[in-house]
Amino acid sequence: MEIKIEKGVLTEALSWVQGVVDRKTTMPILSNVLLEAKGGTLSLTATDLEVGVVGTVKTEVIQPGKTTVPARGLYEVVKELPNQVVLLKTQLNNWLEIQCGKTQIKLVGMDAAEFPSLPKKTDGNSFGLEVKTLQEMIEKVDFAVSTDETRYNLNGIFIETLSEDGKSVLKLVATDGHRLSLTQRNIEKKIPLNRGVIFPRKGVSELKRLIEGKEGEVSFWVGEKHAVIDKEEKMLLVRLIDGQFPPYTHVIPQKPKRVMSVPKEILAQSLRRIAVLTTDRSRGVKFSFSPGNLEISANNPDLGEAKEELTIQYKGPTFSIGFNAAYFLEALQALEDEQVVLQLNDEVSPCLIQSEFDRGFTHVIMPMRL
């Protein structure tokens, strides 16, 4: 392989692909980026076997071919080169020679044949989604994705579609077992997704990177085990989580008895103050409701105690309930409303938060024992 490429173009492509390389991989080949030159383009591929990314750039191909070199090493080197044309040339022992101006660097490479082959689009469904809509929807749920590896079926966003008279409703759901975030939107076009899929956490963060600052549509292909997302010259391949997403609709409370309306910004500020006095492990704060009033309090045997009273709209009985302050704050952040409406039953049942502004948004937080 021998190519000539602009330094800026190569740096940009490398910065995109090297992000997925796992620093702690046990397979040496996975720290490498696959470089493949043919027909006037260079494609760069990196994967950790869960997520794969491919970037394609136009280039002058002198001799087609392929090789692999350490992704991070190549990126660091290229980043520091002068702004000139870079010559990449493979040598017989799989080394890669990099020439730029008077600089000459050689990187140790590995045979491209050892690089794992990425899944191909075979049987599956293709559809396009508006970048802006997708971005907004992901932001409303992705913070609730579980990071607990033992609950692998919760380690991603569940994506499903419902059909309603020719239109589609797209639903994104995430939960860590303690809280659940759901957002749904009507999509003008029909989305041919015949079953729900769990899109893993790492795939979500790469997807966010892929569509960041972009406009227009992003195209999806969803197969049995994999999904492929294309946006312009970049492609993201994701291994879907092979598991059953829990029956989430069952845990969304139906018409809770106690409803209260609280100014969102005041509640968030108060929670941030009180949360300082929670213990690191539990982050538990106590919400004490009485007609027209909410008292938020916390105590930490090592630090002290705090309480604050808020005027709210509430007419029901007096009761107390505990919540993880961090969960509450994250939920409030996903909400555009000025007033947040909390719907509760008793001290061991979940709190339902819905939005007046975004009717498709539903958030459920499970309380803590006091």
Partner: protein, 411 residues
């Protein structure tokens, strides 16, 4: 004192920090050691008032091949001692009433006494089934002198349970414990401030709790026989011989060692085992016994607010060979039914088509605290079970562990 007969084998990591001697000298600490007299035998006499005033001897779980677990003072007068083989006790006191041990009843009474102590004083540390330390420091305004407080406690235990206790009062736990021993039966002994050294001086070194046979031997080798002699040894000499334990020994001999009763305990496992009345190879019988063990372990787990991630079952066959198996649970549990279903699955292959069994055991391990955060997907069924077991435990705590039972046949 009867630590070996404690109904649970809790593997605990006790972290006792000896208080700095200087602090203790300045501080006015007051400790009680409350020791129930002839505990097992006394409970039997309360259960059956006809036994009052008669010599009563309680055996181990398996009385036909056991030893004396406890003897009433009436029996002790005949020379019967704890730990004596059954036959020998029979020879010494042929008129005694011999009873098998009823550990459930003892645990219930022990709990009652513990509750009394806990309602009367702020800091209580149960040392074994029939003894506890109470930190009375700072309680003068409530109870008056330590002696008056001890009298109130003694009276409360007697009135509410019918049990008699001996109480030692001193500025350190070890001295209080030695005093209660001397006060037995049904007495009270106070070692006033400043009199500790005089009180301890004539006693042999091994009378001090915490000085065992090995240290005792070494001290005797150095010519130190009594605590008085030990107290007179220069500190640097003790340090040279016993290292960091040296100052600790000196403090003990001077009656100055105290430790905080709020010891942090990390319970690593809770288990229970039982030798059967006779060797059995019948699965339904073993199953029943296994369930009884698990009911007790489950109750203890819930009391400690712990959940078991791993269950272990073990058997000892008639020929004294043994076998054990274990499994890790997907979801930690403290529910009898859940623990039993897993344990029974493990136990059955150890029983069927095998040698007769002499002993069965169950242990809950890899214990985890219950997280305060409730889980969306475990409710409401798990919560219902939790409420069920809470009520079950409440009834048993109030009315005794035999009031409510699962019907095993329904499982």
């Amino acid at each position: 004192m009867m630590k070996n007969f404690s109904p649970f084998q809790c593997e605990k990591k006790l972290q006792i920090r000896p208080r700095a001697v200087a602090v203790v000298r300045g501080g006015n600490r007051v400790f009680l050691h409350v020791d129930l007299d002839a505990f097992f035998a006394s409970v039997e006499q309360i259960k059956n008032p006809k036994l009052k005033g008669k010599p009563v001897i309680v055996g181990g779980r398996n009385s036909r091949r056991g030893v004396v677990a406890a003897a009433s003072y009436e029996a002790k007068r005949f020379g019967v001692e704890t730990g004596m083989p059954w036959m020998q006790a029979k020879q010494k006191c042929p008129t005694a009433v011999f009873l098998p041990a009823d550990f459930d009843a003892y645990a219930d009474y022990s709990k009652k006494v513990q509750n009394i102590l806990e309602t009367m004083t702020p800091v209580v540390a149960q040392a074994s089934i029939d003894e506890a330390y109470v930190d009375l420091t700072g309680c003068e305004r409530i109870y008056g002198t330590p002696r008056q407080a001890a009298e109130k406690i003694h009276q409360a235990i007697l009135n509410q349970t019918g049990l008699e206790a001996s109480i030692g009062i001193a500025g350190s736990q070890s001295v209080a414990k030695m005093a209660s021993k001397l006060a037995k039966p049904c007495g009270m002994m106070e070692v006033p401030k400043g009199a500790e050294e005089k009180f301890l001086a004539p006693m042999p070194v091994e009378a001090m709790p915490g000085i065992g046979f090995q240290i005792g031997e070494r001290l005797r080798g150095m010519g130190i026989l009594t605590l008085g002699q030990l107290a007179a040894i220069p500190p640097n000499l003790l340090r040279a011989s016993f290292g960091i334990y040296g100052p600790f020994l000196r403090a003990k001999a001077r009656g100055e060692d105290t430790w905080e009763l709020e010891v942090t305990e990390v319970i690593k496992s809770i288990g229970k085992q039982e030798t059967l009345e006779q060797d059995v190879s019948d699965w339904p019988v073993i199953k029943q016994k296994l369930f009884e063990l698990i009911e007790k372990v489950g109750r203890k787990l819930r009391e400690e607010n712990l959940y078991a991630r791993r269950v272990v079952v073990f058997v000892r066959y008639a020929d004294f060979s043994g076998e054990a198996t274990s499994k890790t649970l997907r979801e930690p549990s403290s529910f009898d039914r859940v623990l039993f279903n897993h344990a029974a699955e493990l136990m059955q292959p150890l029983v069927e088509n095998k040698k007769p069994i002499r002993l069965v055991g169950f242990s809950a391990q890899e214990l985890v605290k219950q997280p305060p955060q409730l889980d969306l997907f475990r409710t409401p069924k798990a919560l219902r079970w939790e409420r069920f077991y809470n009520s079950l435990d409440k009834v048993r705590n109030q009315f005794g562990s035999k009031t409510l039972h699962f019907c095993l046949k329904l499982f």
